[in-house]
Symmetry: C2
Subunit: 570 residues, 2 copies
Amino acid sequence: MKYSKLFGKTNKTAPEDEKIISNKLLYQAGFIRESTAGRYFFLPLGQIVQRKIMQVIKEEMDQTGSQEMVSPILHPLTLWQETNRDKSAGFELMKIEDRRGSEFALGGTAEEMFIDVVRKFQISYRDLPFNIYQFSTKFRDELRARGGLLRVREFIMKDAYSFHVDEEDFKKEYQLMSDTYTKIFKRLGLKTYIVESDNGYIGGDYCHEFVVESSVGESRFLMTEDGSYSAHEDVAIFTKEEMNLDEQLQSLKKVEAKRNNDMEAGANFHKKPLWQQIKDVMFVDEKNRFILAIIRGDYDVNEMKLKHIIKAEELRHASDEEIREIIHSEPGFISPVGIKQIISKDCELIIVADDSIRKIHNAYGGANEKYFDYLNINIDRDYQPDIESDIAMTQSGYSVENNKKLVEKRGIEVGNIFQLGYYYSNKMKDATFVDKNGKSQPYYMGCYGIGIGRTMAAVVEIHHDDKGIIWPEEIAPYKIHLLTLGKDLEVLKQAEMVYDKLCKENIEVLFDDRRDIMAGEKFADADLLGIPYRIVVSTKTLKLGGVEIKQRNSQEQKIIKMDQLIKLFN
Amino acid sequence: MKYSKLFGKTNKTAPEDEKIISNKLLYQAGFIRESTAGRYFFLPLGQIVQRKIMQVIKEEMDQTGSQEMVSPILHPLTLWQETNRDKSAGFELMKIEDRRGSEFALGGTAEEMFIDVVRKFQISYRDLPFNIYQFSTKFRDELRARGGLLRVREFIMKDAYSFHVDEEDFKKEYQLMSDTYTKIFKRLGLKTYIVESDNGYIGGDYCHEFVVESSVGESRFLMTEDGSYSAHEDVAIFTKEEMNLDEQLQSLKKVEAKRNNDMEAGANFHKKPLWQQIKDVMFVDEKNRFILAIIRGDYDVNEMKLKHIIKAEELRHASDEEIREIIHSEPGFISPVGIKQIISKDCELIIVADDSIRKIHNAYGGANEKYFDYLNINIDRDYQPDIESDIAMTQSGYSVENNKKLVEKRGIEVGNIFQLGYYYSNKMKDATFVDKNGKSQPYYMGCYGIGIGRTMAAVVEIHHDDKGIIWPEEIAPYKIHLLTLGKDLEVLKQAEMVYDKLCKENIEVLFDDRRDIMAGEKFADADLLGIPYRIVVSTKTLKLGGVEIKQRNSQEQKIIKMDQLIKLFN
C-alpha cells in the first residue's frame, strides 16, 4: 500500500479532552473515527488489524473443533420473550418493528438465536458436544459511551455457544475455552487474568472474565499475589473475622445521641470501634420494595451482590423523605430493631444482613429516631433479618483463604466465558436432544465471548510509548513501513523497486511515498502508526549498498542488503 | 471436519412448496436455515462458502487498490435527512431510536455514511481517487420475502464507494469495477450479463446490473443476440417506427361506440389496427396527482419510466370511481382530448405521451363519455401533452439500433455498479476536496455492490443436478468428501489415516465417519453436498492399494495411490 493512496491519514492532534490513550493513538494514527458516540468506523488500517485479530481468534477456535456460522442481526423478539430476557436485559436492549408489525431485538448476545437454530434439527447424543460461534455486530443501548473502543454501543463480537449432554462434558469445554482464550490473547500480545465474575443478564451459575490489567479499565477486581484467587469486585469474597463473640450479650439500651449522620460521627460519639457499629443502608428496587441492608460499620454494601440476593433488576438509595414518610425512621438513625413495626402499612421492607453482623456482639447504631441510638444491639434477640448473606464489598488488604491478602487491580475485560447450564434449555421449548435411551433431555450449555474492538484498544493500551503505537507482529497492519529520505530521484527509484519486490514476495508493506514531506514527519508518522519494522532508503543507505532497518520497539538501526531483507520476512 | 461432529446435517426432505431450487438444496444440504422470513442463518457449511465468496471479492477488490474498511450498522438518521433519502427510500428503510432519543436508520446502502467519514478528513486532489469498501449487513424492509437467499430482508453486501476529482477519472474506475466484477463472478463460476438498469433510490444518472441468467431471477432484461445492447426492462428502449405519417390529417369525429372497455374491443369495433388506437392509462401518485399516460395501442406503459419522468415515488391505477367523479370521464373511454376542461377544479392532471404517439396520424380512442369514441385524433391539433417522452415497455421481438431484434431474458441480479456523479456531494455539506488551486470542489462519485447470499444462491441455481449441488472448486466448502464403505475395522482405520494425512497437508476434507449409515445414503449425501472430489475407502480400494476418486461433476471413478492423492491437491 502506498501511503499517498491510503484513505485515513495521520493527524497531529487528538480530539480535545481525550484521556484514553488507545483512543487518542488510534484516532491520530488513522485507524478509527467515531460516527456517533459509541459507534466507530474502522478505517482501512484499523480494519486490517480488526481482521487479523479475528483471524487469530478463528484459527484458535477452529483448532478446538468449534464451527463458525452466522445468525441474523435482527432477533425475533418472541425468542427473547421465551426466556424473559426482553425484560431483564430491557434497559440496554434495542428493539425495532418492521412495517408488517414484526418486532425484533438488536441482540447484545445470541443465546436464544443459537438455541433456535439448533432446535430446527433433531439433535441426538451422537451429535453432541458441539461449539458453534460467529463474528457478528452486537448492540448495547448504553446511556454513557466514552473511552473510544473500550465502551461502545455497537461492536463486533465473537460469540460462541456450546451444547453438551451433561455438566461433566461441559466442564471439559469450559476448560478448553479458558485455555484457548489465554492462547488467543497471548498471540495478540495480551497477558490476561482469569477473573471470577458476575454473569449480568446472561444467566447461569458462574463465569469468568479475561482481563488485561490497565488503569483505564472498567473492571475492578481483587486477587491474591500468587494468583490462586482472583474475582471481580461484584463477586469477590473475603474472610470476615469473628470480632467479639466472647463478649457477653448486654441488654439493649436506647440513648440520646446528638451526632452527625455519618458513621465516623457515631464511632466518635460513642467512643467505640467503627466495626462494632451497624451500618444501615436503605434501598428501593424497581418494584418499589424497600431493602434495608445492614453490615459491619467498616464494611461497604456491594449493591451487585445485594441485587442478586433479592432478585432485583435495579436499586437506588431511598430518599430522606421516603425514610421519614414511608419508613417512619430518620436518615442517619435507621435501625433494624423494631423497624417493621413502624413502617407504613402498604410498605414492603426486606431486611438483608451481611454475614459479618453475626460475628459481632453488642453492636450500636441508630434507633429510628432523630438523635437517639441503640447500644448493645444483637441479632436474633433484638431483630430478625429476612435474609442473611454475603453483601460486602471486598477491598484491597482484606484476606481470603489461608489468610492471603487481596490486592485491588483494574483492567479491561476483553473476553468472558459463561457456564449457562440448563438456564436457557429449561426456558426454551424443544431445547433438547435425544439421549441413549431415546428420551428427550435438555442440553447443558456454555457461552464464550470476545469483543474485537475492545481487544484492539487493549493491545494499544499495553503496547505503546510516547511516540505512538507498537503493534505486536501478529496483528500489525503491515510488517514493514518503508520510507525514503530526501528528494534524490535515484533514492525514489530504488525505493519503488524495494516496494515492488516486497509486494511481489507478498510481504506486507506500507510505503510512505510522499515527496514533499520532511524526514522528521515521516519518522514521526512511522512511530505513530507502530508498524514493527521501519525500512529507510536514502542516499546514505544506497552508498552502503542496502537499506536501513529498525524495529519499532528498539533503538538499534542497521544496514542490510535487499536479499537479506526478503529472507528476513519469508 | 468429521461429519459426525458437523452442526447442520443433511435432510431428506425440503420445506413444503419450496420451488426455488437453490433454497431447496441449500436447506437440504444443511447450508442455511431461515430464522424469520427473509432472515437466514448460515450454518457452518454455508458460512465456509460465504467466507470463500467474500475472500474472492476481497482479493479482486484489493487487487484494484480498493481499501476495505467498515462503518457502523446504525446510521444516524440525520445523515439520511441530509440527502432526503429518509423519505425517498422510506418505504424500505428501517428506523430505530435509542433510549436517549437518537434516531438511526438500518442502512440498505451506505453512501451517506462513507461521505460522512471522508469529510472528517481534509481531502485534497492528491488523495484522490480512492475506492473504499466494506462487507456489512444490509437491511431491506421488504413486504414480501420469498425465494430463499434470492430475496431477503437482511444480507451481507460488499459495498464500495469511489471518490474522484472529475467524471473522466471516475469513468476509468467504473470500467475497472465493471471488469473486476466480471472477473469476480467468473471465479465464482458465474457468467454475468452487464445490463443497463434503473438506479432505484440510489440516485445518479446511470448504472449497470450484473445478471446471471436464470428463470427464477427477478430481473427481466432485454438484449440483442450479439450482446451489443442489454438493458433491464425498467430502462430498455427500442425503435418506434413511423406508422402512417404520410396519411393526411382527417377532421376529428365523435362517434357512438357501444363496445367493451378493452383495447381489442376498440380495434374490432372500428375495424382499425390496434397500433392506431390510443391507449389511455390513468394513474394517481403519492401526492394525489392524476397522470394520464397515453401510448400506441399495442404498446404497454412502463410504470418505472413514467415514475421517473414525473418524479413520483409511487404510482397506482386510478379507480373507476375516481375516473368518473374526479376526472368526469369514463373508464375505458378516457381521452386526452378536452380532458383538462372537464376535470374537477382542484384536480391536478398531467398528460404524459409516449413518443410513439407522434408517429401515428388519425388515431382513434375514447371520448370521455360512455359508448362514444373519437376518430382521427391528432396530437398538437386536438390535445397537447404536458410531457412527451419514452414511457413504453420494451418487449421481446422489438428492435433496437440497426434493426437488431431484442430477446427477453430473466436473471438474478448479483451485483451492480452506479455512477453517482455529484448526486450526494452536492447534497451533503463539506463533501469536497481541495483542488490544485486551493479551491473546494465537490467530488465525483461512484458506488459498487455485490450481494453475498444472493451470489451464493445464484451459484447453486447454475451449478446443480437432480442429485444436489455441484460447487465450483473455488468456493466449495471442502475440496474432498471422504467416506468409507462397510464396517470393516481395517477400512475405518485406513480412512482415519487418510483423513489425518489430508488434514496435516492442510487439504480441506469433510470425512463422513458415520458407521451406521448405508453406502447409498452416504453417496446421496455426498452428491447433495456437492463437494468437488469424492474419495472412497473400502475393502475393494484397499485391495487395489489406494482410494477411489470421483469428481462430483463426472461419472468417471478411478483408483489412485495415497501419495498421488496428496500431490493432486497440493
